[in-house]
Every structure is written in structure tokens, then in C-alpha cells.
Amino acid sequence: MTRIARKIATFVRRTETLPLLVITAACLFCKEFYPLSHFPMYSSFASRTHYVYLADGNGRPLPTFPTAGMNTPALKKVYDHALREERTRIKSLGNTDAAGGASEVAAERVLRTVQGSPAARTAGTTPQVLRMYRVDIELVTHRFEKRTTLLAEVR
């Protein structure tokens, strides 16, 4: 084992490939600490997924980029992050009855952030009533089904 390690060390020293090993180890260890990343995109799959989108008071979709100053995948990540935080908060309070409402609270929080964002202020076209919808996509017997749910509405 020591001999193999020594051979690898000699090889790395001779070829000067230590940066490759260091960057790889640092990325895997730190996971997400810019600029380090373990690049988790599409590293695991499930038969269901979801995304969110914005709409006005009548349920008409709004373009995410000019409304929120970010694209739809980023909006989903912001919502998912807020949802995880809300679930952790509820769990820490020991209030399991309220766990079902976590997605609504998280969505409302994100909508408030979008309303007050620099992008919304610059655009000045954000409607008075802003809604967030969640679309669940699920593979059911070789075909995909979509289900849309209203998460929250702010004025």
C-alpha cells in the first residue's frame, strides 16, 4: 500500500498534477463554497420533480426574468431554499401540525422578496397582486402527469 502511495506521489510530482487532485478534493469536500462546487446538477434522479412560476391576480403567467430579476430555475432554487428553511424552523419549534403550511409560508416569503427586489423596482411593472404557482411533474405508468397548485398570493 505504501509502495503504491509512493508511486502515485512520484507520478504526481513528476507530472505536476497536484492541482488536479487538490481542486478535485476541495470541490468534493466543500460542496458549495464559490468558486468551489461539487457540481451536483443531474447527479441523482427521481420520478418526480417540480418548478414554480409567477402569475398576476388572474393567474396569468408573468415572465420571470423581468419580474424577479432572475430566471425560472433560480426562482425555483430560491423557493426550495426558503422551503427547507421553513421546514427546519417548524421542526425546531416541534410544531408538526404546521408542517403542511411550510410551502405556502416559503412561497409568500419569496413573493415579498420579489416585490421588493431591485429588478421589480427598476421594471416598475410588477402587478399589484402577485401569485406563485407550483407545477409538479410525475412519471406515472410510462407517461408524465403535471399538477399545478397555487402556493401563495401577495398584494
Binding site: L36, S43, T72, H142
Partner: protein, 297 residues
Amino acid sequence: MIAGTLAGGAAVPPNYEAFERVAMRLLFALIVWLHIPSSLAHIAITEPHGIARVFDLRFLVDPQAFAWCQYLMWAALVAYVAGIGWSVALPYLTAFSVLVGTVNNSRGAIGHSLQIVSLVLCAQTAAHLYSVWRRRKTGEHHRPRLAEDRVIWWSQQAIVATYFVSALTKLIRSSGMWFFDSPLIAAQIIKSNDQLYYNHLDPAAVGFGATIAAWMTQHPLLVGIVLSSGLFLELTTPLALFGRRLALGYGLALLLFHLSVHRVMKLDFAFNGYLLWVYLVNVPYWTRCVTRWARTR
């Protein structure tokens, strides 16, 4: 060839000629300039990420402060292309790139399109400072050409590392079952195409994902094989470091990989593509080879 190259220790780091080094400097400076947005004023730092958890980076959101940082960036890029003052220019460019990327990822959503440029800048700074340190420690004669070859060599390693890490993460997170799970990517294709529609309510994006996803669910084995070839490519990317031919082959294969991902999932990793062209494919070198070959015939 690979076994022979490995056994022989390979000619690494390779020696680059002046025209290659100048082309790489110029093109990389262009990439660095492109990856910095014109403003960060539209960003609200709601969830500090990385170094933003320690330092307050809100000054970068201020348009005036950001403009000054950009002026300094242009000066550093000019110095970089000219090959002077790298001990100042490279650390500045690296710090600016990392701070901008950190702010961009501090709004509760982590993106992965800019990391590769910042990582290459980190590698270049480390390579340059290592050369300076070696020169001071060993008193060896200053050889700018050798020092710049090291900068290029470490940049290539940073690029390769991003793909290698991505492959390892796939294997770790799927517990080695990525091949069997990969046909489920169809659901992600529907999602990414729908998300593209909602970005600007672009009617051209409607329905495209559903057609491909439906086909994928009918052919899971074929989909698994095709997608796993991408994983195999990522996993073996370190081989790109063993010679110019392998670098060219891997560079082109990875570009094709990104092109297919873009076609199907509408995911654009532009900076990965640019860096592959510059540091792995290395068009100037192969153009000269082809020209010479054509002349001798």
C-alpha cells in the same frame, strides 16, 4: 497510446510556442471580461454564500463601486495580455471574479455557470505565484516561458477537475446507480423546457420537452447508454492532460456533449465551451499543424 503515455510519464507540462501563449492570453482575457456582468444592481443579497458569510459584499451591488472595480479589471486584463505585472493583475482578477460569483450566488439560488472561470483564474494565480516562489527559494534563473507554460498547464487541470468532480458526484450521490436512474432525466427535460418558457413567456419553448421526454420513457435502455457515455467521458477527462492529441479529442468530445445538452435541455454552459476551445482544443496550434502538413504535400 494512453498506457504508453502514462508509463512514459508524458511530456507534461507541454511546451507552448509564443503564438499559442499570446492567443491563449488574449482569448482568456476576453472570457474573463465576458463572465463579469455589466452590473450587480439587480441582485439582493438575501442568503450570503461562500465568503459573503464572512465579509459584507454589498458594496459590489452599488453601481458606482462596481464601475470602479470594472475599470481596475480592464487595466488588469491589459497587463495580463501584455504579460506584465501578473503578480498584481492575476490576484486582482481572481478576487474580483470570486467576489462577483459569490454575490451572484448569494440570493438563495446557486448557479454553476461561472465557477469554471473563477477556478481557472485561481489556478493561474496559484501557478504564477508558485513559479515566483520557486524562483526565490531555489534561486533558479527566471524563465518566463516555463512559468507561463505552468499557468496554462494548471488552467487545463482546473478545467479537467470540474468535469471529473461532476462525474464523481454523480457516482457518489446515486450510489453508483446513475446508469439505471438516468432515463428519469426525462422529467428534468420537461421541467427545464417549461422553465425556459416562463423566463420570457417564449411560445417557441412550448411542447419541445414533452416530445423528447415521451420518447425517452419509451427507450430507457438506449437513453441510459447514451447518457452514461457522457458520464464516462467526464470520468476519464483527466486523460486529456496526457498529450495534445488527447486534449484535442477530449475538448471536441466535451463540446459535443455540451451541444447535445443544450439542444435537449436548453442548458447553456457557454464559459465551459469557451475554455474548452482555448485550453484543450487549442485551434491556433492545430491550424498551424494542418497548414504545415498541407505545405509538405
